[in-house]
Symmetry: C2
Subunit: 254 residues, 2 copies
């Protein structure tokens, strides 16, 4: 029974794609069967995972223009449902569908026994596609940069997830908030982190693992590699493997 995790944050550039790829790769290295889903019409995850383009992807699948076999890609022990840039047009079509929030769940249910983890890469918005991911998922991760004290964006995400949980997916849980791109040992970052750690609303909801700033994480993406392929001894490899272990422990797996 797959653990389906939505990686979500409407703030741009918070390491969603980097997290889906490298947490996925880390879990795969720990012998988990992992599927990644690219829900972003910009296709950053897809273009890192593979060279070349696809005729069909998650958009075509959701509107019923093709089968799962047409789109599912496999690279070693990591699989991917890619996105195409037509996903943007499909989002409009999907928007007018009754029960539109359930379309991704219907597709992923078919794969529930084939994978241990399904990680969903959301676009920087809280629109139809991100809502679909929250309805399809068992849990969600919010990667964020320690960039201010306000956490306004975080409050809004929690509001939306509460609505989804109440109306459409009672089993939806927060896996955790993940600090990413952490600048090492700056007073500012520490102040921001302790601000959230001490916030009643987020007690116990922060991952112990922080993903530190590591230029190798940016470079590896450019070379279409996971951090483990590109720089296995880097901070990025270290941190994403730590995150995978923290998650596996939480799920009672090894």
């Amino acid at each position: 029974m797959a653990n389906i995790i939505s990686v979500i944050n409407n703030k741009g550039g918070t390491g969603k794609t980097t997290t889906v790829l490298n947490l996925g790769a880390a879990l795969a290295k720990r012998k988990q069967r992992v599927l990644l889903v690219d829900l972003d019409s910009q296709g950053n995850l897809t273009s890192t995972f593979q060279s070349g383009t696809n005729d069909m992807g998650i958009g075509e699948l959701l509107v019923g223009n093709c089968s799962m076999d047409d789109v599912l890609k496999t690279n070693g022990n990591l699989s991917l449902i890619p996105s195409t840039d037509k996903l943007l047009d499909f989002e409009f079509q999907i928007n007018n569908e009754p029960g539109r929030e359930y379309m991704l769940r219907e597709q992923l249910e078919k794969l529930a026994d084939d994978f241990d983890f399904i990680l969903i890469d959301c676009p920087p918005s809280l629109g139809t596609l991100s809502i679909n991911s929250l309805v399809a998922a068992n849990s969600f991760i919010v990667p964020m940069q320690a960039e201010n004290f306000a956490f306004i964006g975080l409050d809004r995400i929690m509001l939306i997830t509460e609505k989804v949980k109440k109306r459409m997916n009672p089993s939806l849980e927060l896996d955790g908030i993940l600090f990413v791109k952490l600048a090492p040992r700056t007073k500012f970052s520490q102040a921001v982190i302790s601000n959230l750690t001490n916030n009643q609303n987020f007690q116990g909801k922060l991952f112990n693992t922080y993903i530190r700033q590591d230029i190798a994480l940016m470079e590896s993406g450019a070379f279409k590699q996971t951090i483990f392929e590109y720089a296995p001894r880097s901070r990025g490899s270290h941190d994403y493997m730590d995150l995978a272990k923290e998650i596996l422990k939480r799920y009672g797996k090894k």
Copy 2:
């Protein structure tokens, strides 16, 4: 006659908001009358510019629920049209309006004589609001990180701007591509930059000024200050002032 500049990139976290605020502040320090427009429902620019929230903003203005005087905020020689989180709902309403791409232009035309520069902060998407900014603007700036060799996102932006230019705004020009968050002197960044510099399609379209990575740029936002208020001797101050001077020179101003 205001120079209206759209700061646009559908990729998230590429320093759009940081650029609008600090380029705006730099121009204001050079005695330009500057208006900033927050076109993002997440309101990052708005929450950096001011404390507290607003009842009315660009969304209410565009759908005709209020006047310009109701929303225009001024802080020294920088002015702002803020966004509210209702902008998300208004986007849906705006989408169904005939001639919807012209709504921002109609509003900004009223201010053409009151400002020298109007900078528009776009959300991480190429939807109705971003298109509105391209129709309202004389020119656009694309801030981007030197993060890969593909520039796929850049091609897509150029395609969209070409369409807008052809169909709705013949005077739309590219001011330039702005490299941001540049990690100092890394081989990788240099390879990415020279890749774009040597690309026929982008010859002469790159700003000479690069905005280097500077944690003060992130911290200043958290303290609701411009980089010039927070850290006037920092690299961030230096780089955004250089950018302002490059732009003023280009426009034949001082």
